[in-house]
């Protein structure tokens, strides 16, 4: 049994990282992720680990790049605008094949936008985000407990694939206070980080290591094509082995809701309301936003199910669902426009989703 705490999702991220053996955190203030940075500033020096506040998000992600090259588990956290700033380095790290964890506590956009919750970074997170051909595994927690657990998983997956891993939460999950059981999770053994730049003496072969970000310099791969093939192989393997989702009342469901993050909790409540009303509704909650459960959705579409995507944006997940069903089924949307009030404090409420379920079933 781990220690039980009543904490926010943002704080749970911190405890998760500490349990996973994260040695360095680099951050920069941006609402709504400030609690993460402040937690690390408070707790990491006590644990004898590294915390530094950089001069910008560009600074923090590049500090992570440096620490990752040294083979250390390092992470940063940010929100919308800062996430955009980090993309050049994220793309670079994918090329250099360095592991890191970045937490994106989503806020409204586009641009500066409001500082409150939204789910508008889905495309940017799941499509890589920066330039070039790469993808990151995107984990989407829907509770404080999951924030803690998925951050630990993120570190494991980052090391396993030598690729950045994104934990995509939102301002509601980040600021929601819940009971969390902090426990170190074992995922199994990982290969030694022999590629890390640690100094010749610390490598068994006594040779230097080079971390580089261009495939045709013949250091890591014989050609540019070989680099791309390797990246493609890696992405395929991630898609095959790392797909995670939660099915809720899916066995006999004919109307399937698709959601992640805070809207998944809203959708779950709506499913319960629908079931009480005799409507056979179910929910697919994305735990990995990428890899996306295309096959599961396709099978359900072939069986004649209808789909309702619930997301706090103008419609981003819905494009993946449409891609999965390939015109075989109806796909509907409850979007950011269906919030209960028009200000940035508005939320998608279960009643609204239930109304939509009744309308389309």
């Amino acid at each position: 049994m781990g220690e039980r705490m009543f904490i926010e999702g943002n704080i749970a991220v911190g405890w998760g990282a500490a349990s996973a053996g994260c040695q360095a955190f680099f951050g920069y203030p941006i609402t709504p992720q400030n609690e993460i940075t402040e937690w690390f500033a408070r707790e990491f020096p006590k644990m004898g680990r590294i915390f530094a506040q950089s001069q910008s998000e560009l600074g923090s992600i590049n500090l992570v790049y440096g620490a990752a090259a040294a083979g250390v588990r390092a992470m940063t956290s940010t929100s919308g605008p800062g996430w955009s700033l980090m993309q050049e380095t994220m793309s670079d790290m994918a090329n250099a094949e360095l592991p890191c964890v970045v937490v994106d506590v989503q806020r409204g956009g586009p641009g500066g936008g409001p500082i409150r919750h939204a789910q508008q970074d889905y495309f940017q997170c799941t499509r890589g985000g920066g330039h070039g051909d790469y993808r990151n595994i995107v984990l989407a927690p829907a509770s404080s407990q999951e924030s803690c657990d998925l951050v630990q998983l993120a570190f494991y997956l980052a090391d396993k694939y030598r690729n950045p891993v994104v934990v995509m939460t939102d301002a509601i999950i980040g600021r929601l206070r819940e009971t969390v059981e902090v426990e170190k999770i074992e995922f199994g053994p990982l290969p030694d980080k022999d590629w890390a730049v640690k100094g010749k003496a610390r490598h068994k072969d006594g040779k230097r290591r080079i971390v580089d970000h261009s495939g045709d310099l013949l250091r890591r791969y014989p050609s540019y094509r070989a680099l791309l093939q390797s990246l493609e192989q890696k992405m395929k393997q991630m898609q095959e082995s790392e797909l995670r989702y939660e099915g809720y009342k899916m066995e006999d469901a004919s109307l399937i809701l698709v959601a992640y993050g805070y809207t998944a909790r809203v959708a779950k409540e709506a499913v319960n309301m629908a079931r009480a009303d005799g409507i056979k509704a179910g929910l697919i909650r994305l735990i990995t936003a990428w890899p996306f459960p295309y096959q599961v959705i396709r099978e359900k579409a072939c069986q004649g199910g209808k789909f309702l995507v619930v997301e706090d944006s103008l419609g981003q997940v819905i494009e993946d669902v449409r891609f999965a069903v390939e015109g075989r089924a109806e796909v509907h949307l409850v979007s950011i426009l269906d919030r209960h009030i028009p200000t940035d404090g508005g939320m998608i409420l279960p009643d609204k989703v239930f109304d939509k379920i009744k309308e389309i079933q």
């Binding site: 203030p29 609402t31 400030n34 940075t37 001069q55």
Partner: protein
Amino acid sequence: MTQKKKKLPRVFEYFRDEDQFAGGVAFCAGCPLELTLRILSKVLGRETIIVGTPSCSAPVLYGQNIGTWHRLPYYSCLMTGVASSATGLVRYYRKIGKDVTVVCFTGDGCAADVGFQPLSGAAERNENFIYICYDNEGYMNTGIQRSSTTPFGAATTTTPVGVVGRGKEMSAKNLPLIMAMHRVPYVATATLSHMEDFIKKLLKAKEKKNEGFVYIHVFSPCPVGWGIESDSAIQVCRMAVRTNYFPLWEAERGRFRLTHTVATPKPVTEYTKLIRKFRHLTEEELARLQEEVNSNFAFLHHLAEFETPKAC
């Protein structure tokens, strides 16, 4: 018969325009930002465009919910590019031949950290606008995190005081000196306790912006973040000047001049005892802070060879 001119109070002689701000704005109680903005718009006049970023000043300049608290044009842009965006604006107005004063109004986090690159770039290109940095020594809007202008020893949420932490370990970045080293037409420091000095500097800035880049660094205590009484912001400003913690000076193309000298500077403890963020400092730490203040002032004094007024 010679008509006797009615003598106005000294400070108000400088006001060129009516108040552009409404009464009662959305700042925290006792925040000196309100007075800074009010004076700024009165002195610089109605032909002023304020360029701002997400910051403490945003709620008032940018507006909240249904309206703003002022009548000036406002351009809200990114923290990473405020000086560059202002450049675009200025270049356009100069092209069409309209004389407007473009003022970037940002906090120290933007000026010294995330927006420093474009700021330095704009200064080097000598763009014709005024950049005003209100220095509250931290990211106050996001919850009192440290910035690179946070002084040694100050407690913030990312330099906490506790089992291990003792506040910020490093010294503050001296941003106005860095800007003066760009040898731009005008760089000055100002604060609200010395209002006449501030207004003179604003007037000079309005003139000098026709020659090129102008930078003004305004010392601006934060009642919430620093832990000071909400009626004591001006008092803290005055004590910062009297202890030489924040000396008032100006530099024209690298020629420094102290605009206010203190005959017998008070020890820095007179300043730190007003502020809760320094409460935990030990005597050794205070001695280090005093040493920093002394060496900074000695350096500045060395730079300001000419025209130093008599001590007052």
